[in-house]
């Protein structure tokens, strides 16, 4: 008996064949992993499952019965819950209202706020998330919002639950909670689909996996544990990738960037650090450790209460990102949707917005040819999957959007300091490899590169040195030689927990 079956599903968008005759099945009590490059069609498949898109061809069967969803409501009613790649919450409403959106409990026709909060509090406690059901989503971090989304799906009590890159904005602690939850749902006999670009995760959670490339299914492996890693990667990207981090030791120059006593209202104490030219510095920490906060201060994106930033020994007066960029400091923000993309603008526009100031003619007019050239270069270099450079960025897959935003910053010519906040969020293995190569190239040209990441193997794999933060403080520093998962986690976790790690 199969609980969920895709039969020859196809979906075409203008200029893109997103899905091309995809067929596979997932059974109850099984976690089916979906892998594939950015733009392979994974999210599209889930949107079809969730009633958001109608397939152009093929059938969708649940428990052997063919289904035709015409709205998200239909899918929910049929017992399907989806955790979308792009978070879908209502910022002004409370946790409880978001979780129960569309299904708020009522009494005598009025919303029973108390019951709603109680129900949600129970469920949150049940899955081990510490959140106030009355808090508004506006006041939560991205990670916390992601947990709310997960709770929402779980509370629909669905038989089929699909996760689209749920960990891309979670860090260690939440990830563990999520894993426990997924395992429990599997034990309850639900049919689970799990999309991720993090192979470790897939090995830990999935029973089977299906690999996509260019909208086609390449293969389904029934027993995940038996598939070698290299095989997964080559099936996915269509070529061999040996060492994805591709670390190359470099010569470091003199101290180039120095942050002295940066203070803000949200940081408990002033923070300082320094780095040399040519260095790749990793920042690791749990959600809310203060890494983004620190970098935003450095970048002039938030109001600074004190401290100074020195670049090549000279003070940088950055009261706005524009100042920082002018001084050669750029930051690629962590929240793609809110801080990164200009949703209705083209891919080319999104890439060129900042760096175009370098090649204007007569000081004001744009050089369209140059900009098109640059856009095309990056589309090729980062393998951005788009029908053409004029495509609106919102129509790209999540990972491809991230690549475009990265391209924006990598295109900066006068670069001295490159700060990347969660740069590989949602990016496929092949492209990660490309990005790491670029990071190393940029560093090799004498720039400072700061990489914030919640993916521990990643920072360990590419950084020359690691700074670990905890609760808004710098809790320690590790050289590449001393850096290990245990050492980093010991510095990142709260005191009680760190004892357990040792």
């Amino acid at each position: 008996m199969s609980s969920l079956q895709f039969d020859n599903i196809s979906k075409v968008f203008p200029g893109v064949k997103a899905l091309n005759g995809v067929s596979f099945e997932a059974r109850p009590g099984q976690v089916m992993g979906l892998l594939g490059e950015n733009g392979a069609g994974k999210s599209t498949l889930l949107k079809i499952l969730g009633g958001q898109y109608k397939p152009d061809g093929g059938r969708l069967l649940i428990d052997g019965q063919e289904r035709h969803f015409t709205s998200a409501g239909d899918a929910i009613a049929a017992g399907v819950a989806i955790i979308h790649q792009e978070l879908q919450y209502v910022a002004e409403l409370t946790v409880a209202e978001n979780v129960l959106l569309g299904r708020l409990p009522t009494r005598l026709g009025f919303v029973d706020h108390k019951a709603a909060r109680k129900k949600v509090a129970e469920q949150l406690a049940n899955i081990g998330v510490d959140l106030d059901p009355a808090a508004r989503l506006n006041d939560l971090s991205i990670a916390q919002r992601q947990m709310v989304e997960i709770c929402k799906a779980v509370m629909q009590d669905a038989r089929v639950i699909a996760f689209d890159e749920p960990t891309s904005s979670l860090s260690h602690r939440e990830t563990e909670i999520l894993f426990k939850l997924v395992k429990r749902l599997r034990a309850e006999g639900r049919t689970l689909i799990y999309i991720s670009h993090r192979l470790e995760e897939l090995y830990e959670l999935c029973d089977a996996c299906t690999i996509f490339r260019d909208g086609r299914k390449i293969v389904t492996h029934d027993v995940m544990a038996e598939v070698p890693r290299d095989r997964l990667i080559s099936d996915m990207v269509g070529r061999e990738v040996k060492d994805i981090y591709d670390y190359r030791a470099r010569q470091h120059g003199p101290v180039r960037l120095e942050a002295r006593g940066l203070r803000s209202d949200r940081l408990p104490e002033p923070l300082s650090f320094a780095m040399r030219g040519g260095e790749v510095l990793g920042f690791f920490g749990l959600v809310g450790a203060g890494r983004s906060e620190l970098m935003r201060l450095l970048y002039g994106a938030d109001h600074r209460r004190g401290g100074e930033v020195l670049l090549d020994g000279k003070t940088v007066r950055a009261t706005s990102p524009a100042d920082a960029i002018a001084a050669g400091i750029v930051l690629c923000p962590e929240d793609r949707k809110e801080q990164g993309i200009l949703a209705h603008s083209s891919v080319a526009e999104n890439i060129n917005i900042s760096c175009r100031r370098h090649d204007l003619s007569v000081g004001v007019f744009l050089r369209h040819g140059q900009e098109q050239q640059r856009a095309d270069d990056f589309i090729k270099k980062l393998r951005i999957k788009t029908p053409h450079r004029e495509q609106e960025i919102r129509l790209l897959s999540g990972g491809n959007q991230q690549k475009v935003i990265l391209a924006r910053w990598l295109a900066e010519p006068g670069l001295k300091v490159l700060i990347l906040d969660e740069p590989t969020r949602g990016i496929d293995v092949g492209a990660k490899n490309e990005i790491y190569k670029i990071i190393h190239d940029v560093a090799a040209s004498g720039c400072c590169v700061i990489v914030i990441s919640s993916e521990l193997p990643e920072v360990l794999g590419i950084a020359d040195r690691l700074i670990v933060m905890r609760d808004g403080r710098i809790s320690g520093e590790l050289d590449r030689a001393d850096a290990s998962e245990t050492a980093a986690l010991a510095l990142a976790l709260p005191d009680g927990a760190s004892a357990a790690v040792h």
Binding site: I76, E92, F110
Partner: protein, 330 residues
Amino acid sequence: MNTTTQSAPTSPSPAMNSTSRALLKEHSMTLGYLVLFTVLAFTVENFFSSANIVGLLLSVAQIGMVACTMMLCLASRDFDLSVGSTIAFAGVLGAMVLERTGSVPIAIGAGLLAGALIGAGNGVLIAYLRVNALIATLATMLMVRGLAFIASQGQAVGIADESFFAFGDTVVLGLPLPIWMTVVCFVIFGVLLNHTVFGRNTLAIGGNPEAARLAGVRVERLRVWIFLLQGVVAALAGLILSARITSGQPNAATGFELDVISACVLGGVSLAGGKARIFGVVIGVLIMGTVENVMNLLNVDAFYQYLVRGLILLAAVLLDQLKTRGERRA
């Protein structure tokens, strides 16, 4: 217009702090208004007299009513410019039907029905045919105004039926009926907004229509209902107005829409959707009425009234803004 979303106070002390701050923030406008009111009561002669307060309330009764539904409309990230025309048309139609049938209930029923149809029409255009709300309601505004002129041949339609006037000036417990109706509207729509699925879903579709749709909210249907309600309430306001002015006037309530929207925005309703507070709207409406009232009490020159009205509007939002800003910085 640009919101900076940031994150995450789960530690208890900032949470407490932010709750009390939120409370202050929520009620700062109210406090501001109370201060203003007190100052005016002591400084402006005749301001704090029951006759004047009743007059003031009566002068904002129509705006207040329609502001209730406009709040819903804005909260769902929509916009309605057609309310002024609907008021005029319902008034004219009511008067005409009354003239023909002599029956007050039929006249009122006809007016309300017309309002419902206009509203539903707006809703269908906007929700199902996906016409931009500004253009759609601008079009209905023109068309409905045209209908009002055509129906009445451009002339005010006189009302002779005394019992219809009662609708406009019966005094209950010291306050004329229109004021009570406005109060009832505030209560009903306050409850609707905060304590019903309808209200919460309205905020949800304003805050993030996609999220609402994915959660199974029937977004289109809800939007039609919101506009329909708006139409009905505007028609009610039009009927009351025509009772008060004892005639249905085809060119009544021009520019009314901007007043109503301003009152809502003053009251903290966001044009970007997803944010609304009935209490804020009450205050917004009162501010508008009070300014007008006091200027007339003080015999402010007509030309200077423009200036003062502009300044007060600015002062009100600036006050609100500076505080929010202080907080954001903090």
